[in-house]
């Protein structure tokens, strides 16, 4: 398999700067998610690695070989498209075998390898079916099989799960990850769904307006956002603004919040002046006793009083929207007790010091 390196890539569409000096490394055999809002340049970067778009500056290497002048068909990559792009005039067997037949592989070899990869994606027996006779999940797996059968150096996935319904998508997330691990192929996966990115990838890269905002393992990026954008884009977060005073953040209403520095660049205690910290909704404990802050070992710090605006019930979980001095905070709870606090109830919010991260207000 292969290591993919992107060095100082920039891309302009007329005056629009789609990618601005982006550099990142995709380690061999790893499952890498490129995350970002639409228009962030993530798909453009993927298509450049594939060879459908060409950089105005910078170079892309696969296994140390500069591929910028190589056309798509010579890069030995496998790509799964958002709409799967299965060839309507061919059945499953011909679709999956297409990559081999254009390379002049002989019939027996094609039959053997197509059989093997169809088994890998659990589609054996469907080889005579036409694309329009398959379900969404089946079509998606045929697309993956078709991309893998030629043993490409890199597998590129362009939002492959977005067309699937909720339950099928969860199942396919696991399935795709299993297949990737079995084959051990370097995979780059573009999505705008942060949950998908978190569950499937070994490594995440968040892109915004053509810049690589943050890169790293999912847990690290989630727990240590390096900017307001990263905090807010990956997962949900409550942002508290205040002024920094010797390592703590003092909010508008005087509440003091102890924060830890973000491992990715936040300078906790040193400077004075305005600061922002982020608290994940699931880290907050909610209780209807306004000054009940004894059940957690929190010192009077990290403790706010607010009133419930509404609740969002999602079966296994519950999210409260809390009004706190002109701001709306969100608290996420497992659906344990079953009784729901009505709107208007005064409540108290508290959380452990380690759960507040100082975030540079980039």
């Amino acid at each position: 398999m292969a290591q993919v390196s992107v060095r100082g890539i920039s891309k302009y569409f007329g005056t629009l700067k789609a990618l601005d000096n982006v550099s990142c490394e995709f380690e061999d055999g790893k499952f890498y998610a490129l995350l970002g809002p639409s228009g962030s340049g993530k798909t453009t970067l993927l298509r450049m690695i594939a060879g459908f778009e060409f950089a105005n500056a910078g170079t892309i290497f696969i296994d140390g070989e500069a591929v910028d002048t190589l056309p798509v068909e010579k890069r030995d990559i496998g790509m799964v498209f958002q709409n799967y792009a299965l060839f309507p005039n061919m059945n499953v067997f011909d679709n999956v075998g297409f990559g081999l037949s254009v390379r002049g592989t002989d019939k027996g070899e094609i039959t053997r390898r197509v059989g093997a990869v169809l088994e890998l994606v659990k589609l054996t027996g469907l080889d005579k079916r036409r694309p329009h006779q398959l379900s969404g999940g089946q079509r998606q797996r045929v697309a993956v099989a078709r991309a893998l059968v030629t043993n490409p150096r890199v597998l590129l996935l362009d939002e492959p799960l977005s067309a699937l319904d909720r339950t099928l998508r969860v199942e396919m997330e696991v399935e795709l990850r299993r297949i990737q691990r079995d084959v051990g192929i370097t995979t780059i996966f573009v999505t705008h769904d942060q949950e998908e990115a978190l569950t499937m990838s070994d490594h995440i890269g968040i892109l915004d307006k053509g810049h690589m905002v943050q890169e790293g393992p999912p847990l690290d990026v989630y727990e240590n956002p390096n900017s307001v954008f990263s905090a807010r884009f990956l997962g949900e977060s409550n942002l508290l603004r205040g002024t920094v005073r010797n390592g703590d953040l003092v909010l508008g209403d005087g509440t003091v919040v102890t924060c830890r520095a973000s491992a990715n660049g936040g300078t906790g205690g040193s400077g004075e002046g305005p600061g922002v910290c982020s608290v994940r909704p699931e880290k907050i404990t909610l209780s209807s006793d306004p000054d009940n802050h004894t059940d957690t070992d929190a010192t009077p710090r990290n403790h706010l009083r607010g009133t419930v605006i509404r609740h969002i019930f999602a079966g296994s979980s519950l999210t409260y929207q809390i009004q706190w001095n002109g701001d709306v905070l969100r608290v996420f709870m497992q659906n344990l007790s079953g009784d729901i606090l009505p709107a208007g109830t005064p409540v108290s919010l508290s959380w452990k010091p380690g759960d507040t991260v100082m975030v540079p207000d980039a």
């Binding site: 060409f54 950089a55 170079t59 290497f61 070989e65 500069a66 910028d68 056309p71």
Partner: protein, 297 residues
């Protein structure tokens, strides 16, 4: 893992640019070389002729002149015939639209499956019969004790003579018959692409049948209507066969005048000049219609 430093002589853009250019050249080159040899060069020769006093073949002397173009402006009957040919073009296009569009709509929206396929082909089929034979068949239908008169007399005893032959309507009938399949086909293609959901949505919003037609179907079918109109208007303005055979005394148009310059006399320059004037006027008409078309599509 040693990373090879890129020589970067060939930037990615230029290499693929070259392969793209060769692909474009390979695909369009042969076709347009063919057109150049058979259409553009011969026509530019003809355009050159239109500025000469005589055809430079054999020992004829030819000198550059504008007299051929001037003739159009000096002689009033050329202008009358030019206007008459354009009116013919507009009328035939109008009738083809009025009678052809509903046909296309019915075919596209109310008929399904195999029978639509067969009907679609039945409309193309008349193209295969020879245009001349079709026109002559019309003379057999329209003329004195022709098929039409005969059957009418059979129906209504002393119906008498129809004398529809050798009249302006006879020309219109012949031309509409030859060109209406174009309008039906182009409109069919664009109407067929209209998603039924759009029509249902409009009706669900309370639109009656007429406003659905006017506000939804016609605008969406406009590309087909325009393509059909162009494919009909342009050739009809220059038509000379149908008018001469069906029109009798009424069959004189700019097309027949141009034909005379090639068959009655050896005056190609004047024939070419009149044709290029006609072509220019046709392009002017299309240019005038363009903004109206753009506004609607």
């Amino acid at each position: 893992m040693a990373v090879a430093h890129p020589q970067a002589t060939d930037t990615a853009a230029s290499v693929t640019g070259r392969s793209r250019r060769t692909a474009i050249l390979a695909l369009t080159g042969p076709a347009y070389l063919w057109l150049a040899l058979t259409i553009f060069l011969p026509l530019s020769a003809m355009l050159y002729y239109s500025f000469l006093s005589d055809v430079p073949i054999g020992d004829r002397t030819a000198v550059l002149t504008l007299e051929n173009y001037a003739a159009f402006f000096e002689k009033e009957f050329y202008q009358t015939l030019m206007w008459r040919s354009f009116r013919l073009g507009f009328e035939v296009t109008f009738y083809c639209l009025v009678f052809g569009f509903p046909c296309a709509y019915v075919l596209a929206k109310t008929i399904r499956g195999r029978s639509r396929e067969a009907l679609f082909l039945l409309i193309i089929l008349p193209f295969w019969s020879n245009a001349l034979v079709r026109i002559f068949s019309w003379t057999m239908v329209l003329r004195g004790n022709g098929v039409l008169e005969h059957s009418l007399n059979w129906l209504i005893p002393e119906f008498g003579s129809l004398n529809l032959m050798f009249t302006y309507p006879a020309i219109i009938l012949g031309l509409v018959h030859s060109y209406i399949p174009y309008m039906i086909l182009t409109c069919y293609i664009s109407i067929e692409a209209i998603d039924n959901g759009v029509i249902e949505a409009a009706r669900s919003l309370g639109a009656r049948r007429l406003s659905v037609l006017r506000r939804i179907i016609i605008p969406l079918a406009m590309p087909g209507i325009i393509a059909g109109s162009i494919l009909i208007f342009v050739p009809v303005v220059g038509s000379f066969m149908e008018p001469r055979i069906l029109g009798g005394r009424q069959g004189t148009f700019i097309g027949t005048i141009i034909e005379d310059q090639f068959t009655a006399v050896f005056n190609w320059p004047l024939g070419a000049a009149l044709s290029f004037i006609m072509l220019a006027l046709v392009l002017v008409v299309l240019a005038i219609m363009a903004p109206a078309i753009k506004r609607v599509t």
